[in-house]
């Protein structure tokens, strides 16, 4: 059995592209779209995979990462899926890719204007945990009535002494729409601000798309006396020695020995290759 190029039929891709154009035109606004049933379960990236399918052309070079790694199940499966249904070239090198689908990370290597980053989003509504009614959250967005989000940050400080939200840290896009950056660590939030690359977000189960166009101002929410801060480590990557990348803590034996390594595997191996050369 053969599939249409990039799995989805042309009408569906057209619908997705129209929704994406609208999303780019209104930075941070959640555009509803007719999410399709994809050959993987909800929560595995059905939103991201549909956005990628709508964007892919035969000359694209695709990179897929999951938690920064190119070699994890989700990344391997989606990469293989597209090389099978679209026959596009794939890569593990950030600099070589034209399209990067990602789950939970932004690559450490700076992105360029000719690259697009596609995020997989489980819950596009940043206010959802505080306000369960969709009609109400839409009204709050329409009126830019975002005081509620600070209630969550207040609770963090009251309970933990600092803003303990460490991933999916809410941002204000272009000074207007409160937006979920998807569950990336807040370490990556500064990379969203005025990024040269186009950032697209797809939530398959929730049927929403949104975008952060290139060079858009993205502000992470905070209090005046508790400013936004990113994670820091006392360690360096034990493989490449990097002191400025996002580190994963890995338990390596049964006695609890720990090791800190870069979460971005391409960045890490690139640095190691450089050091050897």
């Amino acid at each position: 059995m053969t599939y249409n190029f990039a799995f989805l039929d042309e009408d569906t891709k057209r619908m997705l592209r129209r929704a994406l154009l609208k999303a780019v035109a209104i930075p941070g606004y959640q555009v509803p779209f007719g999410s399709r049933e994809m050959p993987l379960p909800y929560g595995w990236g059905t939103g991201g995979i549909q956005v990628t399918a709508a964007l892919l052309g035969p000359d694209d070079v695709l990179k897929v990462i999951d938690q920064g790694a190119d070699d994890t199940t989700n990344a391997v499966n989606i990469r293989r899926f597209f090389s099978r249904v679209a026959a596009v070239a794939t890569t593990e090198h950030t600099a070589e890719a034209t399209l990067i689908q990602t789950r939970h990370r932004i690559p450490e290597t700076s992105l360029r204007e000719d690259q697009i980053l596609v995020f997989q989003v489980p819950e596009p509504e940043p206010l959802r945990t505080l306000e369960p009614r969709e009609a109400e959250t839409r009204t709050l967005h329409a009126l830019a009535d975002y005081g509620l989000m600070h209630v969550k940050l207040y609770e963090d400080i009251a309970q933990y002494g600092h803003i303990a939200t460490s991933y999916d840290y809410p941002v204000l896009v272009d000074g207007r729409f409160l937006t979920s950056p998807s569950p990336i660590p807040k370490f990556d939030n500064p990379k969203l601000d005025r990024s040269p690359a186009l950032m697209l977000f797809g939530a398959g189960r929730e049927k929403r798309l949104y975008a952060i166009p290139p060079y858009t101002h993205v502000e992470s929410l905070a209090f005046d006396d508790h400013p936004f801060e990113i994670q820091r480590w006392e360690h360096q990557c034990e493989l490449c020695g990097s002191g400025e990348s996002y580190l994963d803590e890995v338990i390596v034996d049964d006695r609890g020995t720990r090791m800190f390594v870069c979460s971005d595997t391409d960045f890490c191996s690139g640095r190691r290759a450089e050091a050897q050369a």
């Binding site: 505080l130 009204t139 009126l143 009535d145 005081g147 509620l148 600070h150 209630v151 969550k152 207040y154 609770e155 400080i157 009251a158 309970q159 905070a222 209090f223 005046d224 006396d225 508790h226």
Partner: protein, 256 residues
């Protein structure tokens, strides 16, 4: 002195049924008006209509803004209605669980309206929340406790603090002391009386308890079957009721 709220011939129907019919009154700054009547007499319907939570079937409600201009609530956009409810009004519900955010701490509940107004300084929010807990006689050390761990009376006091923290000009209260035991009721009424005097609030309070009206309100409106049957000074109404229904209401109060 010019009125703060002007209600003219307000009716609210639910299909063929009458919620309230042809009600008019004025409320002046610093005044507390009680609406009394039995269950189903249209008190809450009237309150919700006046507070722009229901739209009136007929009649008009006008609110005088800080700049002195009159605002017709029927012509208000959703955005303006919410701004008004956030910045200038307060609403205290009968069941504190409806008015509180139960999944966040007491402090966050008090600070929420301030954050909605754009206050972004944590220590300042914290200090104000602490001050208000004290004012409503809740131990400030419980600032980080969940409202679910509070007693019914404490929850109601917390709701009052949460509503009054932004110093609204006008507060609507829907039976704030119903469902609480008598001693707790007395403390809350005492508290309300003090706060209303301190802040110079104007308030409309719905109650079925004549003692509450006696204690708090200068003027009282008696409702029956959706209509106002008697209105006047509270003492006058309670000591010399004219309408048969009011006479019944007054005579049915248990005296010791």
């Amino acid at each position: 002195m010019s009125a703060l709220l002007q209600v003219r011939g307000v009716s609210r129907h639910y299909g063929p049924r009458i919620g309230c019919e042809d009600v008019s009154f004025e409320l002046h700054p610093g005044e507390l008006l009680c609406i009394v009547g039995e269950s189903g007499s249209g008190k809450s319907t009237l309150l919700n209509t006046v507070a722009a939570q229901l739209s009136p079937t007929a009649g008009s409600v006008r609110y005088r803004q800080r700049n002195g201009g009159w605002l017709d609530l029927a012509a208000l956009s959703e955005a303006d209605r919410r701004r008004l409810a956030r910045e200038e009004w307060g609403f205290v519900t009968q069941n504190p669980r409806d008015g509180l955010r139960l999944n966040v701490s007491a402090g966050a509940n008090v600070a929420e309206r301030l954050m909605a107004l754009g206050m972004r300084n944590y220590s300042q929010l914290r200090a104000i929340a602490r001050g208000w807990l004290e004012r409503v006689e809740i131990d400030p050390s419980r600032i980080d406790d969940a409202p679910t761990s509070f007693s019914g009376g404490m929850q109601q006091r917390l709701q009052i603090a949460r509503t009054l923290v932004t110093q609204p000009r006008l507060v609507f209260m829907d039976e704030p002391t119903a469902g609480l035991d008598v001693s707790v009721q007395a403390r809350i009424l005492d508290l309300l009386r003090r706060l209303v005097n301190e802040l110079g609030l104007a308030a409309v309070m719905v109650t079925h308890d004549l003692a509450v009206a006696r204690l708090l309100a200068a003027r009282t409106l008696v409702m029956q079957g959706g209509r106002v049957v008697e209105t006047g000074l509270t003492d006058q109404i309670l000591d010399d009721p004219q309408h048969p229904y009011t006479q019944l209401l007054v005579s049915s109060v248990l005296t010791t």
